[in-house]
């Protein structure tokens, strides 16, 4: 769905998304890293369970909410990708307990 421009040096920053290793470039947001790795869907909605992907990438739409290193509901477009980050995509409604 997305590709790097050919002149851009290789990506060598590694993180995981739902347990799958992906590589990113320093300066990528978590959302950009996911899109570059072909992970378009970042959550399913709490209301209907519909799949969603980032919409605005500038912090206003909140479509890219993911869990990063155990902290839920973080805007993936506002968090820089860091080595070793553990990202989980959103799984809809929160369950009690």
């Amino acid at each position: 769905m997305f590709r790097r421009l050919s002149e851009i040096e290789e990506t060598n920053l590694n993180l995981t998304v739902d347990g799958q290793g992906i590589s990113a470039r320093a300066g990528d947001s978590v959302a950009a890293a996911m899109l570059a790795a072909g992970i378009i869907q970042c959550r399913i909605t709490p209301v209907s369970g519909a799949p969603r992907a980032p919409w605005c990438l500038m912090g206003v739409c909140f479509e890219c909410l993911v869990t990063i290193d155990g902290i839920a509901n973080r805007q993936a477009c506002l968090v820089r990708a860091r080595p070793g980050m553990d990202v989980e995509t959103g799984r809809g409604k929160r369950e009690v307990g």
């Binding site: 769905m1 590709r3 421009l5 300066g27 992907a53 919409w55 990438l57 206003v60 506002l78 820089r80």
Partner: protein, 474 residues
């Protein structure tokens, strides 16, 4: 930068580091004001100069000269002495200019004698059927991916909507070596009539000189479909097909992996409305904009707004309005300041007027059509709570007079985005259903925190003795 390095008090706090925020902070700091810039993004530049000091896109022709002009502005800002705080999410601003800000998971409060809100614009929502499908995103988002990560789309990409950014993105994509399957232009034919009177001003302006080559380049190498009147995205778990109709009413279909939508930008009003700054409906630009004096001062003492958040006027005007707001702050806090190099107010105002003459034509020509602003039926309006146009119109039939009564029925606008992606749609939908002016319908009542923060962050804020006494017994 950790929250701890912030001071408790500043003379000037600027919120946002786009063209207006950078211009204001640079000028104020040079004049000696203790200035802090709180920026939600990771690096200065706002969205238009996004990542300009660190973009991996080093072929300068790709993003163009107007983008690279931002690099000098960022350097000036960095040399000005203003304190820059990236990754700083402002979640509250009070009338006494106390600011609540979250930085790297920690919150704190600070105060400023003057505040300049420079939170800029966001893209107008484009609520067509299927706009929530993965693979459908805003054109601005695609541009951000290009600027900050050097990413362009792969596969069949369709651009749809209207406005200068659509053509700018097309030009940047083509220069970057990307391909576009089609550009579906939704500009309404009728807007030409109102725009025409302003054509001379436009033809003499940089907007024409810079815009025409972009338009021609896109038309040379991409299939451009004008007069699109109906548009939707179809697909199961992601967009697969874009469907449209022109004036002839014949349905046309195109396979697509990515659909990029755009129909102009509108002021990002959440912070300003939450502090109680009066906003009024602008019927030409079809959005709410704050009521300000000629310096950007709002109705609240010491709080000004500069840049597109003060009403959409583009990057050149944003810088000029940033300078005016900074001049007002300098005059208020350093009366009689004779700093050499303070810009001349009259010359700023002359430049602003000239810029506005060139812009008026574009504003009116690209006034988005009602069909793409005011959806019908099962089209989702509130993406967060998945509320449809039909549901909102039904609440009007039940007697709801405005968005604030409606949201208690439907939770519309109460999700994490706090109405940013549905507020204007809801106002216009209810105005149409009630057959009244959008000004009469009004906007969501917004309250702090205007961005979500964790309970732990709130609890960790320093507390006064009075605040503790108010809740602790015994």
């Amino acid at each position: 930068m950790a929250a701890g390095t912030l001071r408790d008090n500043y003379e000037l706090a600027v919120i946002g580091a786009g063209p207006a925020g950078l211009a204001a902070a640079t000028l104020a700091a040079r004049a000696g004001l203790a200035t802090v810039v709180l920026d939600e993004q990771a690096a200065p530049g706002g969205q238009i100069w996004r990542a300009v000091s660190e973009t991996p896109v080093q072929r300068r022709s790709v993003l163009g000269a107007d983008y690279w002009a931002g690099a000098a502005r960022v350097r000036d800002f960095e040399a000005s002495g203003a304190q820059y705080v990236p990754g700083a999410t402002v979640w509250s601003l009070a009338r006494d200019r106390e600011i609540g800000v979250s930085i790297a998971g920690g919150s704190r409060l600070l105060k400023a004698q003057r505040v300049i809100i420079a939170t800029g614009a966001l893209e107008r929502p484009m609520p067509i059927p299927g706009w929530t499908l993965p693979g459908v995103m805003s054109a601005g988002a695609a541009q951000i991916l290009l600027k900050s990560s050097g990413l362009i789309t792969r596969g069949r990409t369709v651009l749809a909507g209207c406005g200068p950014l659509l053509w700018l993105l097309a030009a940047q994509y083509l220069r970057a070596g990307g391909t576009l399957a089609a550009i579906l232009d939704t500009t309404a034919g009728s807007t030409w009539r109102s725009a025409l009177a302003h054509l001379p001003g436009f033809l003499l302006s940089p907007y024409f000189r810079k815009g025409l080559p972009m338009l021609l380049a896109a038309r040379r190498s991409v299939r451009v479909v004008a007069g699109v009147r109906v548009l939707r995205a179809e697909g199961r778990d992601a967009v697969e097909t874009v469907v449209w109709q022109g004036d002839d009413g014949i349905e046309q279909r195109l396979s697509a992996d990515i659909l990029l939508l755009h129909q102009g930008v509108v002021p990002n009003v959440n912070l300003a409305i939450s502090v109680g700054i009066e906003h009024r409906w602008d019927d030409d630009l079809l959005c709410f904009a704050p009521v300000l004096d000629g310096w950007g001062n709002s109705s609240i003492e010491g709080i000004a707004i500069a840049g597109d958040g003060a009403g959409i006027a583009g990057v050149a005007a944003a810088e000029l309005r940033g300078k005016l707001a900074a001049l007002a702050a300098i005059r208020a806090l350093r009366p009689g300041s004779t700093m050499a190099g303070l810009p001349d107010e009259a010359s700023i105002r002359t430049q602003l007027a000239a810029d506005a003459r060139g812009r008026r034509f574009i504003d009116l020509l690209y006034r988005p059509a009602a069909a793409f602003r005011i959806p019908q039926g099962d089209t989702i309006v509130c993406r967060c709570e998945e509320v449809t146009a039909r549901q909102i119109v039904e609440t009007v039939a039940l007697g709801c007079s405005g968005p604030n009564q409606m949201k208690s029925f439907l939770r519309c606008g109460m999700g994490p985005c706090q109405g940013r992606l549905c507020g204007l749609t809801v106002t216009e939908l209810m105005a149409q259903a009630r057959n009244v002016d959008p000004q009469k319908i009004g906007y969501y009542r917004l309250r702090p925190p205007v961005k979500p923060i964790t309970l732990a962050e709130l609890a960790a804020l320093p507390k006064s003795e009075a605040a503790v006494a108010a809740v602790v017994r015994g």
